[in-house]
């Protein structure tokens, strides 16, 4: 029974990874699960300099989901390399560094800095966070700009480059093609969907940023659809995510075309969710007598 998958050059022992921003810097979860068991840890989105993020009023629960407007608060790439990576190197798992910048130059610089660090196995480029404003949003929604910023980051790293797509677009297929044209080795599909909630008593938005990103089971049908559409548009491997709570949910993404899956919001509900999903994937493939999980990828029968 083979569970290992190759995500654009990144060899994972199994297809279960954690989603950026929902698993801290990984080390915080060592208490809850054996980090050696999961395919990879994707760390919180990193920027060149530490970032303060948005003012309080950052999370709000919605039906079967949650909104967040953390605003990419992080300790910065230097502190990550100095304080977190040495600890992470102790585990036999892959580390995916999620990163972002405000300009193309910052993306390039961040990619270069992370590539030089010992213990980072792949880069995940976040061009799609709904909590950043104005010009920034265009990186994740305008195919031409996507291709441009990915091309630039591509030159700055020899590591597998995963581009994380925004679901807030008319055509996820166009965005997938743009990222691949820019040199992406793999895609992460999807980031959160922009939403908002209002407190009807105070008439104020629940989030200081007014809008935030919707995640959790509520968005799963949308995420599965986008993975399906992206997988049809490009040939690079896809990490599927969006509302995965169970092994069955993960299989749904794999059948839709994902080569690996990321566990996000589920980590909040159950910090050991990723290993439980992995165990249940194993049960499924044993029960269905599947030798190699890769044969299941895109296995939907239409």
């Amino acid at each position: 029974m083979n569970l290992s998958v190759n995500i654009g050059g990144l060899e994972l022992k199994n297809p279960v990874v954690t989603a950026s921003g929902t698993f801290g810097y990984g080390v915080e979860y060592a208490e809850f699960l054996d980090l050696n068991l999961i395919g990879a840890i994707t760390v919180k989105g990193l920027s060149l300099r530490p970032a303060k993020g948005n003012p309080p009023g950052r999370v709000w629960e919605t039906p079967c989901g949650m909104l967040n407007a953390i605003g990419l608060q992080n300790i910065g790439i230097d502190a990550f390399i100095k304080d977190k990576l040495p600890e992470l190197r102790k585990y036999d798992t892959k580390i995916i560094a999620n990163f972002f910048g405000d300009t193309i130059e910052e993306y390039v610089e961040a990619a270069a800095a992370l590539s030089a660090a010992d213990g980072v196995h792949a880069l995940e480029m976040n061009i799609s966070c709904p909590n950043k404003q104005a010009g920034w949003i265009a990186f994740g929604t305008d195919p031409a700009l996507t291709e441009k910023v990915v091309t630039a980051a591509r030159r700055a790293t020899k590591l597998p480059l995963i581009v994380k797509l925004s679901p807030n677009v008319t055509s996820i297929a166009d965005m997938a093609r743009a990222a691949v044209n820019g040199g992406a080795d793999a895609l992460s599909v999807i980031n959160t969907i922009t939403g908002m909630a209002i407190d009807i008593e105070t008439r104020r938005p629940r989030l200081s940023n007014i809008v935030g990103g919707l995640s959790g089971p509520a968005i799963r049908p949308i995420a599965v659809r986008m993975v399906f559409q992206a997988a049809k548009a490009v040939t690079v491997p896809i990490i599927g995510m969006g509302g995965i709570m169970t092994g069955g949910d993960a299989i749904e993404f794999i059948l839709a075309g994902a080569s690996a899956v990321a566990i996000g919001t589920a980590n909040f509900v159950n910090p050991a969710a990723s290993v439980e999903v992995l165990d249940s994937i194993k049960d499924y493939i044993v029960r269905n007598r599947i030798d190699d999980i890769n044969t299941l990828v895109g296995g939907i029968i239409c």
Binding site: F32, P63, T265, V269
Partner: protein, 263 residues
């Protein structure tokens, strides 16, 4: 010790006023929690509500013959989706729990006098303090008499309580802070000495306290919406003079003077 565990409901008693008293016993050994710390509790099997809910514990009964892993007592107000589900769960059911979490109230030095202040359901977070500080004056403000939970449940019957109510239906008629201020200055005029105040109540109460001239070290337990409870989602931020802090990890207990109240 792993802070993720399951616990069995051993008692779940609704009170007339919308509160309910929940007692659970962990299926495994857990760390002894400090007063002011809290637990994240899954309020049922459903994915709606999705997230766990934070609750301070009122009391931790150490391991004993009946409960080899001890037991945790909670006092909870049924205010929304999650708490109303939790309220109806049957004895014998198991809950998923994470904790103890965060930083509780700091210890009280021997040369300090403690005053405790509770506003409404805030009593759940500070009631346990009377255990270690039995004669401490306990200021407890409610809107009206009916909103006082049945304390007998918790075996806290001999507390030195100063009750106040907005409508005068019980105790001093007026704000709990009014009474506190009076007693604090009386104390200062009398025996004197260093005062610590530990408080739990609505944000409005804290803001008012921040505006008062209490000449005391005031610690308060904050509430914000939370997703993870363990410091990783960065969702429960609060603005302090030392920058943004996470209520679930750096708090929920903070020195009142550190909090920046805006808006």
């Amino acid at each position: 010790m792993n802070r993720l565990f399951t616990a069995e409901i051993v008692r779940n008693d609704p009170m007339d006023n919308g509160y309910f008293a929940l007692q659970v016993t962990p299926d495994v050994e857990i760390s002894e929690p400090d007063i002011g710390q809290f637990f994240m509790i899954k309020t049922g099997e459903s994915i709606d509500p999705l997230l766990l809910r934070p609750f301070s514990f009122v009391d931790f009964i150490p391991p004993n013959d009946k409960y080899p892993n001890g037991s945790l007592m909670f006092l909870i107000g049924a205010v929304g989706k999650g708490t109303n589900i939790l309220k109806h769960l049957a004895v014998g059911m198991r809950l998923s729990v994470i904790g103890p979490l965060g930083q509780g109230f700091p210890p009280v030095a021997s040369d300090e006098i403690l005053f405790i202040v509770a506003g409404g359901i805030g009593i759940a977070s500070v009631l346990g303090l009377t255990n270690v500080n039995p004669n401490t004056p306990f200021f407890y403000g409610v809107r009206t008499k009916e909103l006082i939970p049945d304390m007998v449940w918790f075996n806290y019957t001999g507390i030195n309580t100063f009750t106040t109510s907005d409508d005068g239906s019980i105790g001093f008629a007026g704000s709990v802070l009014e009474l506190l201020e009076k007693q604090v200055s009386e104390f200062k005029r009398g025996c004197g000495g260093k005062i610590k105040i530990y408080a739990c109540g609505p944000n409005g109460m804290y803001r008012a306290m921040a505006g008062m001239n209490l000449d005391a070290d005031v610690y308060v337990s904050l509430e914000t919406p939370m997703a993870c409870g363990i410091g990783t989602c960065l969702g429960c931020a609060v603005d302090t003079v030392n920058g943004l802090k996470m209520v679930c990890k750096d708090g929920p207990v903070f020195n009142l003077k550190d909090i920046i109240w805006d808006g």
